[in-house]
């Protein structure tokens, strides 16, 4: 019988740098600072690290990181594809490696200078993936344009409105207003600000888009057995999943029979199959929010409501503190920091430690998801 991943490993350390539009340090330095901070949080020496996992579009590789922080011999390393779709899979890969004895102390990290660095869509000479020939010449240039296309159709089919998207933006902003580390701390959002803000790709306005951020985060994973002796309360990795659906096309899933059913649905099926509990038992969720429409789509995909019901789910304060499903309690990518979703992982850990700046009382289960719209991943954490 192969080892099961369920609760076999735990996140025992988390670390982060400041988040800002512009930080003076290099991506490599930010990565090292976040990783060393996570190891200090766990009470584990850098020389004990023998596994690394990160995701693509990460400029800092494991060779550089390992030698900079003083890691020992590394016996497992992986890099997951599809940008923000890889965030939760880093934890999943390390959990697999540790549960099967390939390594004992794993570090996952993300370091980005998206706030001050170049934006890929601005570079006309960039090597684009093949689908570029079918979209770019027509002025579908940015992720906001690609997701905006799906959002408009979703609104048309299910009666979703900009008020629903505002509910998402508002929930994330309200949580950021409670989080001193968030870029949007002390910067409240109003409905009027939202409704009168400039459009980026109509139907998506400024506040439907994530923040451009410099910053880094990391977490440390060990076996459940070892976790019991660590400094912090263990947060167990209960279930993990990746999802690349049949006939999926990436951000432009327009050629799928059902473009509004994205990778979340695929990841969710596997995630829940491996878990001891279901969507109704989730106390708090950290849902990848590069754009507000990803929230209703993900709520449907992960089974919190039925198909087409994601927008209505956001009504009546459901996503706020005390609501049916508080989300993105640190502020998320929309209002805390957009570091390809890694802040969502660390925020999930904070909730289950009971130390979030927007703590859900007695939270013991948390769903964390990675980028929807691209091959994705998700984890269920439990206290």
């Amino acid at each position: 019988m192969a080892a099961t991943l369920k609760d076999a490993t735990a996140i025992v350390g988390i670390g982060q740098t400041a988040f800002a539009k512009q930080l003076p340090q290099s991506e490599k330095e930010l990565a090292c600072r976040a990783i060393l901070s996570a190891l200090a949080d766990a009470g584990i020496e850098p020389s004990e690290v023998d596994a690394f996992s990160s995701y693509t579009m990460e400029e800092t590789d494991e060779v550089e990181v390992a030698k900079a922080i003083g890691a020992g011999d590394v016996t497992f390393f992986s890099k997951i594809g599809y940008g923000g779709g890889g965030s939760c899979a880093t934890v999943g890969h390390l959990a697999s490696a540790i549960a099967t004895g390939q390594a004992s102390v794993g570090v996952a990290w993300r370091s980005r200078k998206r706030g001050s660095g170049p934006r890929p869509w601005k570079n006309t000479a960039v090597q684009l993936p093949t689908p570029g020939q079918w979209t770019r010449p027509f002025g579908l240039l940015r992720p906001a344009d690609e997701i905006g296309m799906l959002a408009r159709r979703y609104m048309h089919e299910y009666g979703a409105t900009r008020d629903h998207l505002f509910n998402v933006a508002m929930a994330c902003r309200n949580r950021a207003n409670e989080n001193p580390a968030a870029m949007m701390y002390e910067r409240p959002l109003t409905r009027e600000m939202y409704m009168t803000s400039r459009m980026i790709s109509d139907p998506l306005c400024l506040f439907d888009n994530c923040l451009e951020t410099d910053g880094a985060l990391a977490c440390v994973i060990v076996s459940a057995e070892r976790a019991r002796d660590c400094r912090q309360k263990p947060v167990y990795v209960h279930s993990v999943a990746q999802g690349l659906p049949a006939q999926h096309h990436g951000m432009v899933n327009y050629w799928n029979d059902d473009p509004l059913s994205g990778p979340a649905w695929t990841a969710a099926r596997h995630l829940w199959k491996q878990a001891d509990f279901g969507p109704d038992d989730v106390d708090v969720a950290q849902i990848y929010d590069a754009f507000t429409p990803l929230i209703p789509l993900s709520l449907e995909g992960y089974g919190f409501c039925g198909r087409g019901e994601g927008a209505a789910f956001t009504e009546g304060g459901a996503l706020e503190m005390g609501g049916r499903l508080p989300i993105n309690t640190g502020g998320g990518g929309l209002s805390e920091a957009y570091v390809h979703g890694f802040n969502l992982i660390n925020e999930g850990v904070k909730q289950l430690r009971g130390v979030s700046t927007a703590q859900v009382p007695d939270a013991s289960t948390c769903l964390v998801t990675a980028g929807e719209g691209v091959p994705t991943s998700a984890i269920l954490l439990r206290a």
Partner: protein
């Protein structure tokens, strides 16, 4: 021993003098653009007689029967708007100059699950912002036209005359 190398990625867009992006076809997509230059909208189809399914974007083999034989089937050029966006700056300069313009997704009348990204324009050579935003509507019937940009023929869409 000979080996054939295929680049993992291709430059899928390059710029014209006025900086509008022009498509740079990959090996699988090249016939689409060659037919477009002849004023024809054609979609790749499986050439296995028992299958014959259309597929888009083009690829080396059929996902239904795994046949590597393909043909390019002529479409009527009619379709409906499945969705649309109106991009606003920040954008590449040539696009910013026409913003807000429209980008539409057209589902083909002949094959509703094949959807092409394009622009709704007043006439083939008109600018990307030549149709009033109020005329954009999901479900609107459109007809393909072709225009040349940077030496490449690209499909665009006009509202079907009713």
């Amino acid at each position: 021993m000979t080996t054939t190398t295929t680049p993992a990625t291709t430059t899928a867009a390059t710029t014209t003098a006025d900086e509008l992006l022009i498509p740079v076809p990959d090996e699988d997509g090249a016939p689409f653009w060659e037919y477009a230059a002849q004023g024809e909208l054609r979609v790749q189809a499986c050439a296995e007689p028992a299958c014959g399914k259309l597929r888009f974007p083009p690829r080396p083999c059929c996902p239904h029967c795994q046949s590597f034989d393909s043909e390019w089937r002529l479409m009527s050029g009619r379709g409906r708007i499945w969705s649309y966006v109106q991009p606003h700056p920040p954008l590449l300069p040539a696009y910013a100059a026409q913003a807000p313009y429209n980008v539409i997704l057209v589902e083909l009348a002949d094959a509703p699950h094949i959807r092409l990204v394009g622009n709704l324009v007043a006439s083939a050579d008109a600018p990307l912002d030549s149709v009033a935003p109020a005329r954009l509507r999901i479900g609107a019937r459109v007809q393909v036209v072709f225009t040349e940009t940077g030496g490449v023929a690209v499909p665009r869409w006009i509202l079907e005359k009713s």
